[in-house]
């Protein structure tokens, strides 16, 4: 069974990929390297595309695949750590969510997963969400956190477990 392999030394956690993988019943494992790999596809963008190809069910409620419009922004614009570049992307999302509770239609879809995953991974976003400057984004983000936090927690627990195992291993070695 193919699983997602996440390097704990990667610059950003691929939360979008991990959440999508959950909906495809694909497991993940953490490794002590700096990239993410899924079924031979290396790097966040390639791995996400490969997962979608193998498991189109990750579109969830989005039968028309409108989520595709958000794929590239989710893997680029919403991950940038420069606020001047991030801001126009957030303005666009804020306005998209004026009359929408989900990114597409009236239920969860791949667009929610990937854009949320990008914001969750972006270190600039914690304080922006908390401040409520983007009122619609904060509402949407906190709502999806009710569903997605399980995956975030599972990832963080796996990282802690791996780190504990490594440090125990080192101690045993030096002793």
């Amino acid at each position: 069974m193919t699983s997602v392999s996440v390097g704990t030394k990667a610059p950003l956690v691929p939360y979008g990929l991990l959440i999508a993988a959950k909906y495809a019943n694909v497991d993940f494992e953490v490794n002590d390297f700096d990239k993410v790999v899924y079924n031979g596809a290396e790097g966040y963008e390639a791995a996400v595309k490969k997962l979608i190809e193998d498991h189109p069910e990750v579109y969830l409620g989005d039968k028309s695949k409108i989520s595709d419009e958000w794929l590239l922004p989710a893997m680029n614009e919403y991950l940038v750590k420069d606020f001047k570049k991030l801001n126009p992307a957030l303005e666009k999302l804020e306005s998209h969510l004026h009359f929408r509770s989900y990114m597409v239609g009236y239920s969860l879809s791949l667009a929610d997963i990937l854009v949320w995953g990008a914001l969750r991974a972006n270190p600039l976003m914690g304080s922006i969400i908390k401040s409520g400057t983007f009122i619609n984004i904060s509402r949407w983000y906190n709502f999806l956190a009710l569903t997605f936090n399980d995956t975030v927690d599972a990832y963080l627990a796996a990282v802690n477990k791996a780190k504990a195992a490594t440090s125990t291993g080192k101690k045993a070695h030096s002793a």
Partner: protein, 122 residues
């Protein structure tokens, strides 16, 4: 009231989320408010600005379904300007009316692409 009885349908009841004590208390307040002759739409709109569903649940609660049923006639009569000035109710109403177990004969058309100015935090 046909709509209110929807909340009692087994398909709906079986899907209601579990609530904690604070949510139960708040639900009781909204149910009381929803029974008043005049419903406080501004208060509801503000509450829904930070919550997708009124009690912060992942799926609609009895409070959402009851408020939705109570508001249906009112929202049906709304103009574009009413939708714009109560944008959070409009978004939430549209979500609840699409909740699968609710058998809604007539959807109120809500334009998701309405152009409104960016809301600045009060």
């Amino acid at each position: 009231t046909t709509l209110l009885s929807l909340a009692a349908q087994d398909a709906v009841k079986s899907k209601l989320p579990a609530l904690n004590d604070a949510q139960n208390a708040e639900q009781a307040q909204w149910l009381t408010l929803s029974a008043r002759p005049s419903i406080p739409v501004d208060e509801l709109n503000t509450a829904l600005s930070t919550r997708t569903y009124i009690l912060n649940t992942a799926t609609p609660s009895l409070a959402d379904i009851t408020l939705y049923a109570r508001l249906k006639d009112i929202v049906e009569g709304w103009t574009t300007e009413n939708f714009k000035s109560h944008r959070h109710i409009a978004r939430w109403f549209d979500l609840v009316q699409h909740f699968a177990p609710l058998k809604v004969s007539e959807y109120v058309a809500i334009d998701q692409t309405l152009d409104v100015p960016r809301e600045v935090k009060a």
